[in-house]
């Protein structure tokens, strides 16, 4: 394909779009290196006198590593569990034939439509009984029940040419091996994308941990960020933005690694 004029136009439109979208990120990172005074007085993206003091304050006032690891554990459990169950369920819905498949699928998918507010209180009550309040696993648990992954992965799986599955069928390959050796490798980029989205959603989740978590030892990053934001006493913007920047850092790094992986494996697995 060659670049034609219309592509050039898209190009410009794009850069504008990207800059608009990216602005909050730049803002957060830049502010985190400002002094409190500069944070309020200047909106320049490059700090006049960059300082690490906000980061110092972060590391001295909160147990950052502990909080980071809490968040990471929760997000990892949620992501892995949701991906694995979604893979199995989507596989079954695409490649099995069984009674009530369509109504069952419909029911399952309709759970996506339940608002968080409806499940919040019963979940809280259940977790209280289970003694999982103020516990990071208690934060993770209700997030596991989510059919979105099934919904998305099913579509990707439907794109796998049926003849590939037929080859495996003729070779007497078990469903488990078909999933492992054919389905997963082919839709791996999709799995990774969805995984990243799951991860970020859990990573940045705020409402539910705010209800569940009481002690600072069990804090997540989004709560830690909140610890520097107060409408009454004012916000320590540099510190808040330092926490925000750190919050973005890990998943971004993870993504950068995965992206390499995605590009790498997509090159190998594209059904073209």
């Amino acid at each position: 394909m060659k670049i034609d004029f219309s592509e050039a136009k898209w190009h410009i439109l794009f850069i504008i779009l990207v800059l608009l979208l990216i602005y909050p990120l730049l803002f957060a990172v830049s502010t985190s290196f400002k002094t409190m005074e500069e944070a309020y007085s200047s909106s320049a993206l490059i700090p006049a006198a960059p300082t690490f003091s906000a980061y110092e304050r972060v590391f001295t006032t909160i147990h950052f590593v502990q909080i980071l690891s809490n968040t990471f554990i929760i997000a990892s459990i949620v992501t892995l569990f949701k991906l694995v169950t979604a893979l199995f369920a989507a596989y079954a819905f695409v490649f099995f034939r069984f009674r009530w498949k369509t109504p069952l699928y419909f029911l399952l998918i309709s759970t996506i439509f339940i608002p968080f507010t409806v499940t919040m209180i019963p979940n809280y009550m259940t977790l209280t009984k289970a003694g999982l309040i103020d516990n990071i696993y208690g934060v993770a648990l209700p997030q596991l029940a989510d059919a979105t992954g099934i919904f998305l992965l099913r579509q990707y799986m439907k794109g796998i040419p049926s003849s590939l599955m037929e080859v495996a069928e003729l070779d007497h390959v078990s469903h488990w091996m078909r999933l492992r050796t054919i389905v997963v490798p082919i839709i791996r980029p999709a799995i990774l994308s969805i995984g990243i989205i799951f991860f970020i959603n859990s990573w940045n989740d705020y409402v539910w941990p705010a209800i569940m978590i009481k002690s600072e030892a069990n804090y997540t990053l989004s709560l830690a960020l909140q610890m520097f934001v107060s409408s009454e006493g004012g916000t320590d913007i540099p510190v808040a933005m330092a926490v925000a920047s750190l919050t973005m850092l890990l998943p971004l790094g993870l993504y950068a690694v995965c992206q390499k992986f995605i590009i790498g494996t997509f090159a190998q697995s594209g059904i073209k």
């Binding site: 409190m36 005074e37 944070a39 309020y40 007085s41 200047s42 006032t61 909160i62 919040m120 209180i121 809280y124 009550m125 209280t128 009984k129 309040i133 705020y206 705010a210 209800i211 009481k214 002690s215 600072e216 709560l223 909140q226 610890m227 520097f228 934001v229 107060s230 409408s231 009454e232 006493g233 004012g234 916000t235 320590d236 510190v239």
Partner: protein, 409 residues
Amino acid sequence: GNSQSSTAPVKENGKTVVTFWHVYTKNFGAPVIKQMVDDFNQSQDKIIVKEVYNPDMYPGLMKNLQADAAAGKAPSIAMIGYNYLDYFKENFKYTSPSELEKTSSSDKDFLEKNFLPNVLGLAKAGDQQVGVPFSISAPILFYNPELFKSAGLDPLNPPKTWEDVRADAKAIHDKTGNYGFYMQEYQDNWATQGLLTSNGAVILDKDSKAAFASKEAADAYQVYADMVLKDQSALHIAADEGIASFYSGKVGILAGTSAKIGTVMQSSKFPVMAAPYPGFPGKKVSIPAGGNFLAVTAQSPEEQQAAWEFIKFIMQPKYLAQWTINTGYLPPRQDVAEEPALKEAIAKTPALKVAFDEMPNLSSWVSFPGDVGVKAEKMFADVRDKILSGDSPSEVLKNAQDELNKLLK
């Protein structure tokens, strides 16, 4: 309802556990709270207090309280914003401090002895003492002496009435091109209540009916609206940005809370000065107290007593002085003013003195009863936004009052 199991007090190493829910962040209040808790835990060996931070200020704490209530649980002590007083009283179980001091082994007249009646009244709903006042903030004017000078005004002679504010703001706007005035615009009516009631307006009458659609209220609002709309000398924008504009020297006068004294001093690039909240000529200034009180929500008597012990501990002048120095809140006890540490701090930060002097003018922040509370909050914010975008104050107030009263019946 309460389940049986959760009424027994939680014990840890034989000590009664007291959970203390507060809303203070690391950069505002939390370090002092932690100090108080640590000191208390070391001072005796029967009780252990655990502090729990609740994000999102009072609404956030309230949401968590609801979740706990649904699960049949409750913290031992909850920090409740004054504006949630009625709402809290009607929807949650608590033990009145008057009861606690009676059943307590010592200090049976703790409240009476140490607190001014009008301060205790801040945490009173009807005849019920719901909790113990802890933090008190007062609306206050911050101003930028540099802008005053550039506008030819005398920084040592800050505005005393709202008309003065309007005139000074206009001067600043005309001479320097900056905004003259900004009143904090949170989603509440705290700052505006001070404006209205100082002109003699009543928000809620004795029958607990909304009564703010008065000429006084409309007139007071009109001054503010004129600054925004006619003179264009006042900024109308959400709180964070408005306050940030003041910090960066683009606004001459900020009407805000005394709780922000620390942050304002630290964030501004000029030496901030403060003045009392203005009034109207010939009328008594009446400004709402912000802040919170502590309510005992513990369910077992043993835990209630433990909680009460802790409350009494942190109500010592020593700690309240620390609290004031670090946050800018006014102390609920008069005798705190005598603390040397506080005196020293006032000498350093004259703004604290300004706030202190406002104590006699404080009244309750109006809190609507029943399930209207949360909605009323929003309605007030709504009223402000409508008026500031050009609607007639009397009409907007009238409509809001009618609607509220419909809900109140």
